[in-house]
Amino acid sequence: MAAIPVETARVSPSGAPQARWASAGRLAPAVLLAPSLLFLAVFFALPALTLILYSVLTQAADGTIGLPLTLAHYQHFFTTSVYSRVLLTTLRISLWTTGAAALLAYPVALVMVRSSPFVRQAITMIVIAPLIVSVVVRTYGWQLILGNGPTGILNWLLLRIGLAQKPVALLYSEAAVVIGSLHVFFPMTVLPVASALGRIDPRLEDAARTLGATAWRSFRRITLPLSLPGLAVGCTLVFSLTAGSFVTPAILGGTGAQMLGMLVDQQILVVYDWPFGATVATVLVAIVLAVNIVSMRVLDRRRAVQAR
C-alpha cells in the first residue's frame, strides 16, 4: 500500500513529497529508539550522573549537601590505607572468582555442548538451578556448609575423614566470598561459553583430525580460539557482578573480607556520608566500566583480525 504514494512522489515534478518520505525514513530509527533512550536516560543516566555529582559536592556539619565542588573525597579515598585495602580486596576477590569461574565453566560448557541431549538438558537444568533461588538463601546455604565450628558441614566432613585435626576457619574470609560469588555467578560464565562452543562448526574439528591433528591440537588451535569471545564475555560479566556484589560479601565475608559494595552501604546508611559513599560507588563503577571497555576493545580487535 505504501508503494503507491512513493511512486506518485517519484514522478511529482516538485520533488517535495519524495523529500518528505526520505526525511520520514531517516526519522524512523530515532522515533523507534526514543522510548528505550528515554528509559535509559531516566533510570540509568540520571541516577549515575546524580551519583557522580554527589561525589564532588560538600556535606556541611548539619548534614546538608551542596557547593562548593571538591575532589577531596577522591583524595581521601585514595590516600587512606583502609579504603585502598578494601579496593584491593575487591579486585583480588573479583579476579579470583573470575579465574575460578573461567577454569571450571569451560569443562562444564564443553561437556554440556558435546554430550547426548539428556546429559545436556540435565547439566543445563543444574547450572541454571541457582538462578531460580534467591541469592540470600543460597548464601545462607554456604554459611551452613562453611561454618567455622565443627558444626559447619565442610568442617564436619574434614574432621570425619581425618583431613583436618581441628576445625578450619573458612567462614568470614576472602575464600568464603570467592566460593559464594563463584556459586552465584557461575551460570553467567557457563552459558556464554556454551553458546560460543555450540556455534563452532564441527566440520572444522573433523577436518583438522582428518589432516592428522591430535585431539589436543585440534582443541588448542580450533575450539579454544573460536570459543574465546564467549569466555571473555563470561569473565567480564563475572568480574563486573562480583566487584559490585553486596549480599555475598556481607554474609560470607563479614569484616574479614570487606568489599566496595559494603563500604558504600556503610557510608550511606550508617555514617550518613553521602558524598563519600557516592565517591566509593563512582570508583566502583569506573573500575567495572574500564574492565568492560577493555574487554570490548579486545573482542573487537579479535573480530577485526579474524575478518581479515
Binding site: V108, R114, I126, V127, P130, V137, R138, G147, T151, W156
Partner: protein, 55 residues
C-alpha cells in the same frame, strides 16, 4: 557425541563436571535439608567432641 569427548583426555572433563554439579547443588540441598530438620541448629555428630560449642 563429538570425537573430543571420546579421547582419554576428554574423559577427565566428566569428573570435573560432576564435581561442579555437586558444588552447584550443595547449598540448595543443604537449605532444603535444614528446612525439614527437626533441630533448630545445624548439629552434626562431630559436635560431640566440642561440647562447649554446642548449645
Amino acid at each position: 557425541m563429538s570425537t573430543e569427548l571420546r579421547t582419554p583426555l576428554a574423559w577427565l572433563l566428566l569428573p570435573v563436571t560432576g564435581l561442579v554439579m555437586v558444588f552447584i547443588l550443595a547449598p540448595l540441598v543443604v537449605t532444603v535439608a535444614m528446612s525439614v530438620s527437626d533441630t533448630p541448629l545445624c548439629r552434626l555428630p562431630a559436635a560431640r567432641r566440642y561440647p562447649r560449642l554446642v548449645r
